[in-house]
């Protein structure tokens, strides 16, 4: 088992965002995580990759209430709940954040270099990864010197995924890659994500677009109001009338 989350609960002050979530991801899978807005999908990813903990440590002194984080997360058999976000990234659990968030003032190539922080620059491994990333997203090679803030939304998303891939992920968590993209760009992007998954990288995909996610995922989790509603393969989930109507909107 690659990733195992047990009884994860997160609350911000008095609001409980996640309560008792348990999920797991096997090696080589593409797992979809869907649910309506405010279901806690992003928070779940942030809790897994250590950002909730980081936020907790960095909000001391602000009068915004307490963050509580409970439960266990293990990655490749190792407990990672107490590790900091950068240590988790080091272990190959890489999070591609919501809203893309490229390093805006840096060029595309510098963004990719930042993603490759853990590799030695110009090492054979770095070059191989760079080639792979460029063959997946050829546009980034042409735009290498462009400042990333000036890229279009779709290009920024590709850059964000490329940047995460440079961190040699074993498990790549992608948070809402399709937000604000035109359908045609979205389709192209999902093809690339499927290609990433085929190349042997396990993917945990958080998405709003249920149809497209189900079309390519091996397994899915449905989240609503901070609770796990259902899980299973796309076919099984789609057969459930109630689930389709009330949570998936299909």
């Amino acid at each position: 088992m690659l990733l195992e989350v047990k009884d994860l609960s997160v609350s911000y002050d008095m609001a409980t965002i996640l309560s008792g979530i348990s999920i797991n991801v096997q090696d080589g899978e593409l797992v979809g995580l869907v649910g309506p807005n405010g279901a806690g999908k992003t928070t779940l990813l942030r809790a897994i990759t250590g950002l909730v903990k980081w936020e907790k440590d960095n909000r001391r002194g602000q009068r915004m209430g307490k963050i509580t984080l409970e439960g266990q997360v293990s990655f490749m058999g190792e407990q990672i709940s107490n590790l900091s976000a950068d240590q988790i990234a080091r272990r190959g659990l890489v999070h591609c954040p919501e809203r893309r968030r490229p390093f805006k003032e840096m060029s595309v190539y510098e963004n990719i270099l930042a993603g490759a922080y853990l590799l030695k620059k110009n090492s054979p491994e770095f070059k191989r990864l760079l080639e792979e990333v460029y063959s997946l997203f050829p546009i980034l090679k042409d735009r290498g010197r462009q400042i990333s803030a000036t890229l279009s939304g779709g290009e920024q998303q590709m850059l964000a995924i490329a940047r995460s891939l440079m961190g040699k992920p074993k498990l790549l968590c992608i948070d809402e890659p399709s937000v604000g993209l035109a359908p045609i760009v979205k389709r192209e992007l999902f093809e690339r994500i499927a290609a990433v998954a085929r190349s042997g990288i396990t993917v945990l995909l958080v998405e709003q677009d249920v149809a497209m996610t189900f079309a390519m995922s091996n397994r899915n989790y449905v989240l609503s109001h901070g609770r796990l509603v259902s899980e299973g393969t796309s076919e099984v989930l789609l057969q459930d009338e109630d689930l389709r109507k009330s949570y998936l909107g299909l």
Partner: protein, 299 residues
């Protein structure tokens, strides 16, 4: 602060040399200040106090304990960087989410440093031993070697920081943290360690300013107050987050100050007011500073 030059007769030469040196000193301080502001989001008002403390550390090692200059500089650098990092880790970093509290803590730490030095050394003016003696003929101007040394040290340090940020392997992580701390974490960049590294560089710049420029003038525990105002002004005038801008602004402010002192000695007490007036005027026409950008998110 302003030093008259023996041997240099022409007014413009005085203005040029003093402007460059004082500008260099301001630039080093402004650079250190804006580095730690940009990378760790800590508005460290105690930064100019580090400059003052460095000057006194150097004074203690070289003139009180009588070490030779090389040993003095190495010891001062180590001591000051250690002090800076400890202060950052123990006092500033834990509360850095609360920006106004950080502001006050920095200010109060500066005052504490000043008072400590007043207790140990009293308020009188002292001078550091010069690194280099003698003068040098440059065209028809005569410049002391200390001035040349100070100028070259300033320029070298500025180059060094440019190299660190844009050419070295620390450049990308430092700039990444400066732009998005949270995402930098996700790339495996240890954000808190990068912040400590930046703090060390920032303090080192203050030590260099003290080691190279302070021997030209005099040192006293209150010497950080004027640079404090100038550094704040320079960082804003240049545009927040723009290193090029802060350096330019530091030189502009220094030249305004030096010109005022030499051209109208009677109005020298107005140097703070005139610098401020320059800044206000620039901000009125360019609200984002000389090289600043309005980021979409900040508005």
């Amino acid at each position: 602060m302003i030093v008259l030059q023996k041997g240099v007769r022409k007014l413009w030469e005085l203005i040029l040399i003093n402007g460059l040196i004082i500008g260099g000193q301001y630039a080093l301080l402004a650079l250190g200040f804006s580095l730690i502001l940009g990378v760790a989001r800590v508005l460290n008002l105690a930064h100019p106090a580090f400059y003052m403390l460095s000057a006194f550390t150097i004074y203690t090692f070289s003139q009180v304990l009588d070490f030779n200059l090389t040993v003095t500089y190495i010891l001062s650098l180590v001591f000051m960087i250690g002090l800076g990092v400890v202060i950052y880790q123990v006092i500033l970093a834990p509360v850095r989410a609360q920006t106004s509290t950080v502001l006050i803590l920095g200010l109060v730490l500066g005052i504490a440093a000043q008072e400590l030095m007043l207790i140990f050394y009293g308020g009188q003016f002292r001078s550091l031993t010069r690194l280099a003696s003698g003068t040098m003929q440059l065209g028809d101007a005569v410049i002391s070697n200390q001035h040349i040394l100070a100028l070259s040290a300033v320029m070298l340090s500025l180059l060094g920081v440019w190299f660190l940020l844009f050419k070295s392997r620390f450049g990308i992580p430092i700039r990444a943290v400066a732009q998005d701390r949270e995402v930098a974490n996700l790339m495996g960049i240890p954000e808190s360690r990068i912040a400590i590294l930046t703090m060390a560089v920032s303090v080192a710049l203050a030590v260099i300013a003290a080691a190279m420029v302070a021997p030209i003038g005099v040192i006293d525990p209150l010497m950080w107050l004027h640079p404090l105002v100038i550094v704040l002004t320079a960082v804003i005038l240049g545009g927040l987050g723009s290193i090029k801008g802060s350096i330019m602004a530091a030189f502009i402010l220094a030249f305004v100050e030096v010109s005022l002192v030499f051209l109208a000695p009677g109005a020298a007490f107005l140097r703070g007011a005139v610098s401020m007036f320059v800044m206000l005027t620039v901000l009125m026409f360019k609200p984002e500073g000389l090289y600043g950008v309005f980021m979409e998110g900040e508005r």
